[in-house]
Amino acid sequence: MRQSGGFFGDLRLNLNPGHLGYYAMRLTGIALAVYVFAHIYSLHFVTETAKTNNPWDGINAWNKMVGAYDSVIGHVIEYLLLLAVVFHMFNGLRLVFIDWFELSKRANRMLYLTVLCMVAVCAIAAPVFFPEIFGRVG
């Protein structure tokens, strides 16, 4: 039997949609875990209030922080984040369904196709969510 070639060697030896999905799930998972911590950190700006005892100070700091996200780069990151969330969420639900309801191979394949379609729909529908980078629809 051929030996496994490590993290990327496994991918090369098992180059099929399911295995690619497994890697994509992990990559998006790590990205989203990093984002959760950044998200919680960035929201802390409103607590600046505690230092000056004036609630408006914290709110101004918070608005300034949110304003920094309101740029082209910020919206592109938001767009990629949306796609990562959609893939991770629907693929994760697929795994939950497989674990708990013992789905057939065919049902699994159909669900996987549905996940990819959902990602494609969200990618195409981006102008609705992010008119700032893709231009307004209509």
Binding site: H44, V46, N63, V66
Partner: protein, 124 residues
């Protein structure tokens, strides 16, 4: 061999349970943040939402679930690399401490948001 409930049953189960909670909660969060506000986003825009206890509770549940799901997921990836048992325990404990601190700071921030929102609502 250790029984399954001591080996990884609970992290596996909680990962699934938090996944389902996050799938529903994130949709609510996304709709609330992107469609119930006007651009550009400002604190004033989210004031009314955070002054409502229901939303504050939903955000609190999301915080706990997201931190658990994220850290447990990354820990699972780390364990796939087959680390030594000592390192496995150390990293697991480290993630536990980081998770607890993050949830505590997140609740502090959330409470502050709610407090500031109520302060502004009173001034209005």
């Amino acid at each position: 061999m250790r029984p399954a409930y001591r080996e990884g049953l609970w992290p596996w189960l909680f990962q699934r349970v938090t996944a389902v909670i996050l799938a529903v909660g994130l949709l609510l969060h996304f709709v609330a943040v992107h469609f119930m506000v006007k651009r550009p986003l400002s604190f004033d825009q989210i004031r009314e939402r955070l002054a409502t206890p229901t939303w504050a509770i939903i955000d609190g549940i999301l915080l706990v679930c997201a931190v658990y799901h994220g850290l447990n997921g990354v820990l699972g990836i780390y364990q796939d690399f087959n680390p030594r048992p000592g390192m496995r325990r150390f990293v697991g404990a480290l993630f536990g401490v980081v998770g607890l601190l993050t949830v505590a700071s997140g609740i502090y921030v959330l409470a502050h948001h709610v407090q500031a929102a109520q302060y502004l609502a009173l001034r209005k």
